[in-house]
Symmetry: C2
């Protein structure tokens, strides 16, 4: 079994009209740019200085090392799919630097090695050594799985062993930024060393119990990281501290330490951290079947999906702490909905699916991939959103690489490894979870399976699968939540199904063609009445896509449109717009501008409205043309 999910990156080759251009741009533009940034930003120079035993001269953020690790991880996924000698060579060069910088003890963190070697492991809240270790391990495992080499795996093992030596002994505490938990499970899966699982369990179980994080904040002047100013260390927008309540008392919410994980009832705090933690917890549950943790996962997932999720799959409402706020608090224009959090949600949901193949997880992954995640990446592969609002006055635009470069590399590793989110062999059956053109070559409970998928999504609802297998294999085909009508046929013979969830077909496969058709009717959706931001509003969806209105496509200011909920929604494919998208036109009305001359307020009875179509494009494609206002939620008439 691969280290992350039941189907590995190397087992799937994506070849899809919609996704392949994104994946190609990711490989050719983003990953290349990411590589150049390693030199530009001083990331590699930090390793070189550490090798040379120099002091000071550190460049970038204190967790700058992760830029190198994330690049290796993304590059490794590319290498897993197809060898590329030039890329492989560059990866090896970077690995040489990393390995060279590692201390004898196994310790590796160029910020502390160069700047304050005496303060390592003193500031777990903020200084991110364990977070860096997590990314190192993930990169090492991906590299090992892609190439079979152990050059970086050895580094990761040495560092993990060093962490294992220190923690629970010299130091008792958990990281302020999670990530090492899921990484340790991955490391366990390739090394079969139970101690990594134990260490992951230690970090998960200690969280919310210990007062180490609180102690560090009380002593922030005397621990590592003092060279960073308070603003950087405790970065609350608008002042104040992310870690303290109004009375100045420590609250663990920001770092998911408000309660022991197994007692947590709501997703809280920094949303990327939450997703990384819960992904690791799901991994632990998969390995150890901890029912209490499993129940906590169900509770947290229900809270997130029922009360704290944007219609785009985005999560995290607030800029201040980049995270979750309160139930039903889902503002649109001020939404945070970080691209990395969408990526993290995909990580968590795929793991939950592997635990229990509930189509709801796959539905949410689909929603997140096509909307909340994809919007984060510009169609040039060079510009990115950190923040993904659901409405904009026209001032929100993608930028190039960020100083804190978390989102672009996260997007890069997700695109590069997209194949592993399309299928699953959970429980010894084959699941087709996402309809993306691809070929799969895997083993299901010992039986070799070859599957070739073609998909016209998201523009049309036709999918074909050609399947070969050595023996009888049950294949489960997901009927997406958005498909009001769906047909499934094997070699032309229709298969009965109840219209939702998975259609299970257990049979021998000898090149049979499975044909699926999904109705792709545009639909208006409403948000729960408790969501103030969406009161009286509708969003428009078609298949897996959430749509939005952009100023560039519409004559009037967007706020003047009211969508007729009984009206029509016309879909038409426009090859010339946004690399080819299906656009929608919704029946709507706008105010009649007559009679307002010189008046600011008038009796409603004297005002009138007139018909006007509201043109909509897929949300993921917004802000790729002339800058202007955007809205996902429209007033309903």
């Amino acid at each position: 079994m691969p280290s992350q999910y039941t189907v590995g990156v190397g087992e799937v080759a994506v070849d899809d009209d919609f996704w392949s251009p994104w994946i190609d741009r990711n490989r050719d533009v983003t990953i290349e740019y990411q590589y150049e940034q390693l030199e530009e930003s001083g990331t590699l120079e930090n390793f070189r200085r550490a090798i040379e035993g120099k002091e000071g001269g550190f460049q970038g953020m204190w967790f700058q090392d992760t830029d190198a690790y994330k690049w290796i991880e993304a590059a490794s996924y590319e290498l897993a799919k197809a060898d590329d000698p030039d890329l492989r060579e560059r990866v090896d060069e970077v690995i040489d630097l990393i390995a060279g910088a590692q201390e004898e003890s196994g310790y590796l963190d160029t910020y502390f090695q160069l700047v304050e070697p005496e303060n390592r492991w003193t500031n777990l809240n903020i200084m991110h050594e364990l977070y860096c270790a997590g990314h190192l391990i993930e990169a090492a495992v991906a590299h090992h799985e892609a190439t079979g080499e152990e050059s970086l795996l050895d580094v990761a093992v040495d560092f993990a062993d060093h962490v294992d030596d220190i923690f629970g002994d010299e130091v008792d505490g958990v990281p302020g930024h999670e990530g090492i938990e899921l990484a340790l499970v991955r490391l366990y899966r390739v090394t079969d060393e139970e101690r990594y699982l134990d260490l992951a369990q230690y970090f998960v179980d200690l969280r919310g119990h210990d007062d180490r994080l609180a102690w560090e904040l009380d002593n922030s002047g005397e621990i590592g990281g003092a060279s960073w100013d308070d603003g950087a260390l405790i970065p609350a927008e608008g002042g104040g501290s992310l870690f303290l309540d109004d009375e100045g008392e420590y609250v663990g919410t920001y770092a998911q330490a408000q309660a022991p994980v197994r007692e947590q009832a709501a997703v809280e705090g920094h949303s990327v951290r939450a997703m990384y933690l819960y992904a690791g917890v799901a991994d632990l549950v998969a390995e150890r079947g901890d029912e209490e943790l499993r129940t906590a996962m169900d509770r947290l997932w229900a809270n997130m999906t029922e009360k704290r999720l944007y219609v785009t799959g985005g999560i995290g409402s607030a800029h201040e702490h980049e995270g979750f706020t309160e139930d039903y608090d889902l503002p649109n224009e001020s939404a945070y909905a970080e691209t990395c959090a969408a990526v993290g949600s995909v990580f968590w949901n795929q793991r939950l699916f592997e635990l229990e193949p509930d189509p709801a997880y796959a539905d949410l992954i689909e929603r997140t991939l096509y909307n909340g995640f994809l919007a984060g990446v510009g169609m040039d592969g060079e510009e990115f959103f950190y923040v993904n609002p659901l409405a904009s006055d026209g001032d929100h635009h993608r930028s190039g690489w960020f100083t804190c470069a978390c989102c672009p590399p996260n997007a890069a590793r997700l695109f590069a490894s997209l194949g592993q989110y399309l299928y699953s062999t959970a429980g010894g059956e084959l699941y087709v979870t996402q309809y993306v053109g691809s070929s799969l070559s895997t083993t299901v409970d010992g039986t070799e399976v070859e599957l070739a998928q073609e998909s016209a999504l998201p523009w049309a609802g036709e999918v074909t699968l050609d399947v070969d297998a050595d023996d009888t294999v049950p294949i489960n085909l997901r009927i997406p939540e958005w498909a009001d009508e769906a047909t499934v046929a094997v070699d032309g013979a229709e298969v009965d199904h109840d219209g939702s969830g998975f259609v299970r077909i257990e049979r021998e496969w000898d090149g049979e063609r499975v044909e699926l058709t999904f109705e792709l009717e545009p639909e208006l959706v409403a948000a729960h009445p408790a969501v103030e931001a969406d009161a009286g509003r509708v969003a428009v969806e078609r298949g897996p896509l959430v749509y939005c209105a952009e100023a560039v496509d519409n004559e009037r200011p967007l706020h003047q449109y009211a969508v007729d909920e009984a009206g029509s929604l016309e879909a038409s494919h426009d090859e010339d717009r946004l690399d080819g998208v299906t656009v929608l036109e919704a029946d709507a009305t706008v105010p009649d501008l007559d009679g307002w001359d010189g008046e600011l307020y008038r009796p409603v009875g004297e005002t009138d409205r007139e018909e006007a179509g509201l043109e909509l494009v897929p949300y993921y494609a917004w802000d790729n043309r002339d800058p202007g206002a955007m809205a996902v939620w429209h007033r309903r008439a």
Copy 2:
């Protein structure tokens, strides 16, 4: 002619079921509290220290002297209406301190006298010496008119003469905070000294021409006020400077110095400053008939009322600079709409009315008095809003006296002088501009007139006027903009009129009774389509009152209600609520909560709404009961 308007405070005795309780609380509670604060805040102590020639020890804001002046002005209006020996004595004591602190030269500003005597007249942008002078002069004129005494008038004259000596000679510049312009015209009107009018004209004409204000900002470290930190001197919320653009260049907008007044096209910047300036300009026009300035006033008034005015009469959208922003930018929850700006708008509009008795000015004064102004004062007379939003999540509440105590004293002087806003003798005719129970005793073009008004507004539309006059007098009766139907009768004989503007009745008056009836139907109003904040929303008005919904009166969260624009609006008077108010119930719907179990988004077709009444109370009365959400603008269904 009185110094401010054609009808003076002493000529009108208000006796009104609605307004008298406010005026009485103002006299008995607010003005008394205001007096106590003079000692509490150190205001009087500043004068005592100046008298004693001490240095340092200054208390309060750098314009703290104005607290004493404003109190004297409000108290003087009370004295103008009825003598009160105790109050008169306390006023005299405070005047003694002020007079004692004045320097031989006429200069008077205890901040500079105590703290940095060498820096007087160096920081006109911020240090407010001229603003203080303005309030001194206003207090002095009011005191003189009320009592006939010259004790404070002499101080004001000496200071005004000192200013006249300095400005245009030693110093060329205009105040960052206006107020002295209108004060100088008042001083001219009681002294008949043309030089005060010339000085007012100097300040008006120089504004926007000179580069003195810009120079001061460039040299802010070397001029007066350096003892105040930058935050206090250039107080832009969220950082940055109120006086500089993004490139760091001076822009005069904040202090209405973006262009010469006669060229200004839009109301800009700090809204209180703008109103004080334009009130002074209107006074100048009245005295000198400057057509260019008059045209500028028309242009600015049209911009404000057609594009920058809240439905409550409130003005100034932005907290950052306490002022105007862009056309149609009228956010509700983040509205600033400072109470003082509403007061300033009343000042300006009454003066515009005196220039040309257009009922539109009186309509706006009525709207402002009953709504945007009155909401600023709690029903206990002890708590005040500085900021008057049109929507609240429940966190916005009145507070007691402010450190920067501008709004409560401004409310105090307006309540105490309300009588002068009810009538006008502009152009030699009598105008009844506001329907507030009162008796008027004045002279119209040489003819003595006695008028007794009774009014059932704002709850019922019945007004009677009993009139006596020595000779034929034309009386103009305003038909309010909100009265779709109105009847006017003299001793039972109906008077023909066209249903709007003024009904003019020229005749002899010998105790005739004029009866007016106004239809008081609740009405839904819409905002101009360009106002994004109010798109798809309605406000509810009845007569002069704007209504709002408060959480305390309604079961569901306010955002869930949608008002049926074809439904009914039932009015009923409730003596037990909020000292007796007419409440409204609007036909509305709320979402059916069934079927949402565990769902955050659903197809619109599967959702339903159910009927529910939305209960509304007058906006002025909000936040006088249990704290909770409030909204003026409601979604329309």
